[in-house]
Assembly symmetry: D4
Homo-oligomer: 248 residues x 8
C-alpha cells in the first residue's frame, strides 16, 4: 500500500472529506501492486545497484531498443543477455557508452556504480566450448558487483589441471561450475571445497549428451553436498544466484 | 602434507640422518590424502560442528550400527537420513541419547553443541505429502546450526495462504522451497524475495508427474532468478546447501 | 479485506478513537487472506454447494479422520477421493451417513443438498479397465450437482458401439472422455459433437503405453478442436472442470 | 440424411414411381456423410458463424490459395492460422478485404457477421515471447464471437503484476493461460478464479524446457482444479475450446 | 441397415400404412449399429471360427467368470489371455473342458472346431525369458487355426543356432519374431526370408532395456524390409495379425 | 553352395584330379554367400519382379548415379526413395525413361513388367500433410505389383468422411493407414475390417507430437487387433510389408 | 564343417561308394552349426577355461538346477549370476563343492583349474551401494582367470580417497569403474591412466538418477578417451570384456 | 613432483641454504601438476607416438590454427577430428604436409613415425551412411599405429554379406562395430568372435531412431558378451579405446 495515499485517505476519513463507505470502496479497488509487500521488487534493483535485465534471444533489434528506451528512464544499469553484435549496436545507437562482452554475449549500460564485494565468486569451467556460458555467469557476477576469478579448461579427464588451480578454488566464497558432456566437474569441485557450488550444465556435446540432459542429470545426482543446479546454459541465472549468496 | 611429518623429514635431511635420495623416495610415496589440500575434508566437520552423515536407505540395521560404531570414535555428531524406526532403534542400542525425527526420517546423535546461527532458513512447502522432504531439509538445517522457520501447506493454487506468511518469508536469509506435482511454488516464492532459493522437487504426484520430473523441470525453468535446484526428494542436500550459504 | 473490520477501523479513524498512523499500522498488518480478493476461495464452496475434497491416496485412516473432523465444522459436503474401503469405514465412524462409491473409490458425506443442473455431462469411456477413472469423474460431477450420463465400453476399435449411443452423446452439454492405451476416443467423440470435451488419459495398458503417456500424447495431439486434457487418471479433475463449464 | 432427398424418395415409393427394391438400393448407396448424425459438422459453422479454418504451416501459398477458393463458395468466414505475411498476401490476392493479425499469425476473411457474446474470455500470458501464442488464442476467440480481454506479461516470478489485473481476471467467464518455461501461471490463475481455465504450454524457453515439455507437465500436474490443457503452442485450439465453453 | 426392416418400412410407405413424414422420422432414428457396415464385427468371429477373447490382466476371477457366462451363449470358442492358474480354475468351474496353456498364460474353451490352415506360422524367439510371450503368440495362432512351428532360443549372439533352423524358417508363410533386450533377431530373420515378419519386443532385460523400449526401437528401425511391429509383450496381437495374414 | 562348382569339385575328387585333402581345403574356403541358404536374397527380386531400392536421403546425385549404374546391369527395376527432383534428373541422365512420382518422392526405372496382383492394398491417410508418406507407400505397392486404392483425408475427427469410403475400405486385402498427430486412424480402420492393417505414424504435427512419437505410441497401443506398425514416416517399409502379405 | 565327416564323404566320393549327386545332396543338408566357422563357440570355453554362465534372475531354483545338470556333462566350470542364496543351495544340492559369493550374487562350480593371468584388472567403485555390481565384475574376472584388485569407496566427491589408491590404479592393465548416481568416476579414472576403462553405470540413486540413466549418460559422454560402457548394473558383462582384453 | 626441483630443494636444506620452514613453505606451494602422478599425461603421447587431438566441431578456422601453432612446438603428431575442408586448409596453411582424410573428416599432421602394431583392428560397419563414423574410427586407429581392416556394408538384414567376410573378422584382435538404425550388428559380430568388440552407435536413421538412441540402446542391451559401447557417432573414441586394447 502506498503509504502516502493511504495516509491521505485516512485523513480524509478523519476530517470527513470522504465517507466511511467511500473510503471502503477506494480501499477495495487498491491494486495489489500498491501493497508494501510487493514493493520490494520495484526498489531492490536500485538498493542493490542491480541491473535491469533484457533476455535478447528471439527479440529483434527494434524490440530491444524499445525496451532499453523505457528502462533507461529509471536510471538503472541495464544488461542485455544472449545479445549478438547487432543487438549491441542497436543499444549503442541509443546509449553510446554501452560495453559489449563478446564471449559472454552480454551488452551492458552502466548508469551508476555498483559497490564491489570483496568476496570472490570463482567461475570454473570444463572445456573450451563451455566458455560462452561461463563468461555469461562471470560477467553477470561482475556487473552485479562481485569479484570474479576464472578457472577455465579444467575438465575432470585431466584432473591435475584443476588441482593446479586449487589455491584460487579454495579462496572463493561461492563457486559456479560450468560443464557440458558428462558434467562431472561440479562433483569434483564441490568435494574439494566447503562453499556453495552452483552447477551450470551446458548443451555442449553430441550424441547421448541430448542437448545438455546428460550434464544436467549428472549435476543433480552429485553425491557431493552443497550443489544447486540451474537450467542448461543458464549462465545468467547462476550469476544471479551467486550474487545473492555473495552479497554483504 | 602432514606438516609434522614433512618438518621431521626435512630436519633429518638437514642433520644428515637421511640422504637426499632417501628423502626423495619418501616424498614420492606420500599418499595424496596427506597433502594439505585434501585435509579440509577431514577437519571441516569438526571446525563447523557439522555432523557425520549416514544415508540409511538400502542399508540393514547391522550395517548402520557398524558405521555408527566407527564414526562415534571421532566424537562428532551423527545424523542418519532416510532412517526408519528400526534404524533409529538400532542406533539407540549403541548410543542411548539418540533422537528420532519421525517425519523427517532422521536419527541424530548429538555429541557436541553446534553454534546456532541467527540467520533464518525458511522451509516452505506446498502440500501435505511434501512434508517428509521438507522436514528432512528442516532437521538437516537445524542439526547444522541454523534457525529454521517452517511455512507449510502454501501451494500456488491457493496463493493467499502463502501471502499470509509473507512476514516469515521476507525475513529469511535463505529459503528452501519443497514442492511436488507442478512445482510452481519455487518461482512464486523467488519472485517475492531477494534471497537465494533452494528448490527441492518431490516425487509426490501421479500420472504425468513422472516421479518428480514435472516439478524438477518446472524449477529448472523458473523465470525467477536466484534459484538453485537439487535432486528430486533431496531434502538433505537442500539443507546442506542452505547451511553453507547461511554460515557465519 | 473483511468489510466489517475495515468499516469499523475507518469509523474509529473518523471518530478519532484511533489515530491515522495507528490505522495505517493496522492496515499494513492485514494478512493477505483477509483481502476480499482471496475470499472467493473460502466462500465459493458454500455458494455453489461444492464439497470439500480430501485426496486420500497416501494418507492413513487416522489422517483422513482428522481432516474430516475439521471440515465437518463448516457444515459443507465432503468428498474423499482415491478412498479405499478402510478410508470409507474410517469416515463412517465419524459421520454415519457416509456413502461409498466403490468403483469410483469415492466416499461422500452429504450435509446439504446441491442444486442439480439439468445440463448433461456425458462420461464416455473406452475399456472396462478405464471405468474406475470414469466413475471418479462421474461421481465428482454428480456430487457437484450435474446430471450425468454414462456411455461406457465404446472404444474406437468397435466404433459402431459408440455410434449406437450417439443420441446420448449429442445431447450432452459437456463430455468427459476417459481412455487408456491409444486414447483415440477423445478425437472421435470430439469430431462428432459441438461441445467441450474433457479428455482423461488413463494409465491402463502395458508396454509402450508407458503408464498413460501414449494416451496423454494422443489426446494432446488431437486434430479435433474443443478438447482440454487433464492429468493421467485424473477423473476428479475432469469432473471439476466439467462442473465449472456446466454451471448455471 | 438429406431430408429433401429422402422425402422425395419416400414420396416416389408412395406414388409408385420407384419400386421398393429400387428405393432399397438407393438407400444402401447413401454415403454415410449424408446421415443426419454427421450433418452437424457441415452446418454448425454456419449456425454459429464459425469460420472455416486453414492450418497454413507447411503449405505453399498456392496450396492455401486453392483451399481458399474452394471454401469461399460456402460463403463462410475463413481463418488461416500459422500464416506468415506471404500467405496473407496470397489470400488477399483472391479476396481483397482479408485482414492480417501479424502477432497472431492469422489471416481472416470475413464474409458474414458473427454474433458477439458478452461473456468474457480473458487471455493471460506470462512472458513477451508467449505473445504470439496468446494472440493466436485471442484472435481465434474474437473471430468466433467472444469478447476478449488480454492480460499479458504477468509471469509468476513477479506475481504482483498478476494481482494488479485481478479485476479483469475475476470477471472473465473462461480464462486461457499461456505460458512457457515453467508454466506455473495456469495454477496460480486457476487458484484465484472459479471459472474454467484452458492452459496452453508454449515452446518458449531453452535447455530443460525441452521444447515446451516442462510447461506442459507443469500444467497437467496442477493441483488447482478446473484446468484443461491443450497441445504446446496450440493457441488456436485453446481459442476454440474457450469459444465452445463461452457460447450462448 | 437391416434390409428386412427397411423393406417393410418402404412397403408401408408404398401402401400408405405409414406417412412419408412418419417414415422419415423412423429412418432418422435408425441406430448406427444396424447399418450393414458394422455388422461385420458381430459375425466375423463365427464365420472364421475365431474365438472370443478376454484380456484377464487386472480382472478378478469373478469378473472373468461373469464374462465367460455371457460369451458362452454365443457358442463361440473363448480364449482368456494373461490368465493365471486361478483364472483358469475359475473358468473351468463354469465349463469343465477348459484347457490351460501355462507357459502362454492362456485358457481356452473350445466349443467348435476351427479349420486348420496348412500354411505355417513360425514363432521364433531369442531367449528363455521371451518364451511366455512367444507362447502367447503361438497358442493364439493355434487357436485361430494356423499350423505353428516354434523356433526358440536362437538369439543373434549365437547366430549359428538360428541358421541350424533355417529349413523351418524358410518354409513358413508368416514369421513372428519375439525378442527382448537388443531385439535384433527380427532384422536377422527378416533378412533371411521373403515373407512378412511380425516383430514382438518383450520387456525382458534390465537397465537400459527400459522395459522393452530398447527392443521396440530396434525393431522399428530395422533396415530389413517386411517387418510390422506390435506392442511390447503383445504376443496375442502378433498372433492375431499373423492369423489374418495367413488366412485362406 | 554353387551347385556347379560343388559338382565339379566332387567329380574332381572322384576322378582323382584333386586329393581329398585338397578338396577339404577348398570347401573350407567357400564363402558363406555361396551357400544355397543365402541365395534367396540374390534371386528373389528377379523371381518376384521386385525392384532394387536406393534410399536417396543423404546421398549426392553422383552417389545415386553410381549405384544406378551398377544396379542396371542386373536388368531389374530400380526404385529410388526419398528422391528429390535433382536425384530424379540425375537418374534420368543415365536412363531416359525414368518416371518421377513427385508427391511420393520416388523415381522409378522400369526394366521389366511386374505381374499385377488383383488383390487390393488400400492406402488410407488422415491429413493433407500425411500424403507424401502415404504416396511413398502407395507407389511402392504399385511398383511391386499391387492394385492400390487411395483413401485420403479421412481423419478421425471427421469420421463420417472415413465411413463415406467404407466400400473401398471393405474390399481391400491389406490396408496401410498413414497418420500423424494423434494417429488414431489405424485403430478405427482396423476395427472396421477383418484384414491386416499396416500402421505408419508420421512426423506431422508440432509440440507434444514429438516428431511422430505420439502417433507411434498410439498405433502400438491400439486395442484393435491385426495391426503391425512400421517406423515413423516409413511409407516404403509399409509398402514392402503390404506387398509381401498381398503376394500370390 | 566337421572335418571328419567331410573327409569321409569325399573319400566315399573318391572310392565311388557314394555318387557325386548323392554327395551334393548330403552337403546341402549340412546344418550350419556344423560349419567350422561357428565351432568356435562350442570350443572356446574349453580352450580358455571359461565358465558356462547361467543368468539366474527370473528363473526358479528348479529351472537353474535343470540347466546345471545339462551343463555339468561338458565338465566345464559353471557360474550362476544374479543368484540368491536359494539358487546357490539348489546348485549345491547337485554339486556339493559349489562356492557362493554373496556380495556378487554369484555361485560358482569349479570343475577345472583356470590359468591365472598376472595382468591386473582393477575394479574401482564409487559408493557402498555400488559394491554388489562391482563384486559381480570382480568375481567374474576372477573366475575367468584374472588377477583382480579392488579399489572401493572412492567417489569423486572425496577425490583424495581415489588418489590415495593411485599406485593400485596405475599398475592395472584394464580398469572396471562402477558408479551410480552421477557416474563421474569413470572420467576421472580414465584421465589418470593410459589403459582401457570399462565403465559400469549402476541403478543406485533416486530421483533424477532415473534408474541409472544419469550415470549411463555421464559415462557415454565422458571427455576422457579410452572408455567403453556396458549396460546399467552389468557387472558380469564388464568382467567378460575385461577378461577378453586382459587375455594372454 | 619434478625430481630435479625436489632434489635441489633437499640439497639446499641439507647444506643450509634454505631453512626447514622455508622448504616446508615451498613444498606446500608445489602445484599438483608437478607431482609425478600426473606426469603420465604429459609424457604418454610422446612415449606412444600418440597424436595430440583437436576436436574441430564448433571451432573457427582461426581457433584451430591457434591451437595447432601451440601444439606444433611439442613436435608431436596432430590430429584434427570433425574437420571439414576449410579446417584442413587452415591447418595446411601452417604446416604444409598435412593430410586430409575426407570421409573420416580428419586432418593429420605427422611429425614423427608411429610404430605400427601387427595386431589387427577390424572396423565393421552396417550401412553406407555409417561410413564417416567408421572412417573416423579407422583413421584414428591408423594414426595411432594399428593395422586396420575395413569390413563395410555388412548390415544384419543381409547377414550372408557379413559371413562372406568371416575370415577378416576372425583374425582381428579388436573389433569396432559401427551401426545406426537398429544397431544389431554389434551383437551378431560379438557372437562370432572371441575378442573385445567396441560398439559405436550412429545417428544415422530417421523417425524412431531418435538421433541414434535406438542403436545405442540396442548395443547396451546386447546379450553377446564382450561389448563396450561409446557415445553416438564417436568414431574417434572407439579408435582410441581400440588402440589402447591393441597396444604392445
Amino acid at each position: 500500500m502506498d503509504m502516502e495515499y493511504l495516509r491521505k485517505l485516512l485523513q480524509d476519513v478523519k476530517n470527513g472529506s470522504i465517507s466511511v463507505e467511500g473510503a471502503l470502496g477506494d480501499l477495495k479497488k487498491l491494486p495489489f501492486e500498491d501493497l508494501g509487500f510487493a514493493k520490494v521488487d520495484h526498489h531492490r534493483n536500485i538498493r542493490n545497484g542491480y541491473p535491469e535485465v533484457i533476455y535478447s534471444e528471439g527479440k529483434t533489434v527494434e524490440q530491444v531498443q524499445e525496451i532499453v528506451k523505457k528502462l533507461i528512464e529509471r536510471n538503472n544499469n541495464i544488461m542485455a543477455t544472449r545479445a549478438d553484435y547487432k543487438i549491441y549496436e542497436g543499444i549503442k545507437e541509443i546509449i553510446n557508452d554501452t560495453v559489449y562482452y563478446e564471449k559472454a554475449r552480454i551488452a551492458v549500460v552502466k548508469k551508476r556504480e555498483v559497490l564491489k564485494s570483496k568476496k570472490i565468486v570463482a567461475v570454473v569451467s570444463a572445456g573450451t566450448s563451455d566458455i560462452p556460458v561461463a563468461e555469461e555467469a562471470a560477467i553477470t557476477c561482475d556487473v552485479m558487483g562481485n569479484t570474479v576469478e576464472r578457472v577455465y579448461d579444467v575438465g575432470v579427464a585431466g584432473i591435475h589441471r584443476l588441482f593446479a588451480k586449487s589455491e584460487t578454488i579454495m579462496k572463493a566464497n561461492v563457486l559456479i561450475v560450468v560443464a557440458g558432456m558428462e558434467g562431472a566437474l561440479a562433483s569434483v569441485v564441490s568435494g574439494l571445497v566447503d562453499k556453495p557450488v552452483i552447477a551450470v550444465p551446458t548443451s555442449v556435446g553430441y550424441g547421448a549428451s541430448f542437448g545438455g540432459l546428460s550434464a544436467l542429470l549428472t549435476m543433480l545426482n552429485s553425491c557431493a553436498t552443497g550443489i544447486g543446479v540451474v537450467n542448461i546454459d543458464n549462465g545468467f541465472g547462476a550469476g544471479c544466484l551467486a550474487s545473492m549468496i555473495n552479497r554483504e
